[in-house]
């Protein structure tokens, strides 16, 4: 199987292995409850034991960072070189938002083990696909 890694939407090379998330149409902004579609690509030195997709949110700002993985999808591993399409329905909340003291961002993360290949793409999940701003100045 030939894999073209030349046009990277997002991808991480670590040593000689590489994992990459490709979202349909390069789209990263969604309404709550919409479906995210895409393809996971991986090229590893050894056959993948697990390839998983994690949907998580993280906070940042003045307080301690918080995060939660809300969904994990196991993709068919098989082989050191592979690709797998995926579709994932986003939750209704919390919305991606930013204020002066805290921001919340959603991420889709592809993890291939045992070589610990990771790729992460940020998504906006909010009405109109636009991050909610809590203050005019934020």
């Amino acid at each position: 199987m030939n894999e073209d890694f030349g046009d990277l939407v997002a991808g991480v090379k670590s040593g000689l292995h590489e994992v990459r998330l490709e979202l349909a149409g390069g789209r990263t902004a969604y309404e709550p409850g919409q479906e995210v579609r895409g393809t996971a690509h991986w090229r590893l030195e050894r056959p993948a034991v697990t390839v998983e997709l994690h949907l998580l949110w993280t906070t940042s700002g003045k307080g301690d960072q918080d995060s939660e993985v809300v969904r994990t999808v196991a993709l068919p591993a098989g082989g050191a070189l592979g690709r797998a399409p995926f579709q994932l329905r986003l939750p209704d909340g919390p919305y991606s938002f930013s204020g002066k003291l805290v921001s919340l961002a959603w991420h889709l993360e592809l993890a291939a083990e045992p070589e610990h290949g990771i790729d992460r793409v940020e998504l906006v999940v909010a009405p109109g696909g636009r991050e909610v701003r809590l203050h005019a100045g934020a």
Partner: protein
Amino acid sequence: MRARDNPFAVQRLDRLAYRLAGGGWDDLLARLDGLGRRAAILGPEGSGKTALLEALEGRLAASGWRVLGLRLHRGQRRLGGEARARLDAACGPGTVLLVDGADELGAVEWHRLRRRSRRAAGLVIAVHREHLLPTLHRCAPTPALLAELIAELHPPCPCELPDAEALFARHAGNLRAALLELYDLHAGSRDGAAARRGFARRLGQESHDLFA
């Protein structure tokens, strides 16, 4: 300014590397070995003890040690059941325990921890004051260090650095509190420029020539 864009957001502070003065890591690790790998990191609140402990974890792991880290919160007088179970499962000749905030534990719980850690290869604690373990390193922040951290977090224009000496004094050397004051200043404006001018006024500056 969005919280995530604030140069002094906590996730950026947590990524600051500990600046080890003197002989560097080789000296520190050699000293730790000389103390039988049972020692304490001392320092007041916000002086970088946690950052040093985290950096030490990486160095020990790179040297082939298995590292088990425990972080105790203010007022936590006892280890929880899960922490005790992790200790009992992980303590062994190849493991070094790192305990942040060990001086929060009551005397009886501290002695229980020491007893549990006997099977481990080492125990390094981070505490505020002299403790029952010999001192490996004393964290002693300075205004110059604060200025250096500010420059790393907010590099675009070094000439816009606030007065680190006054900031350091106002927070009695608590680097974290000083940096979070800068968070508040930047949060108050779209691009931080107004925040910096306000900072200068608070310091009693008549003009803005502190900043270019």
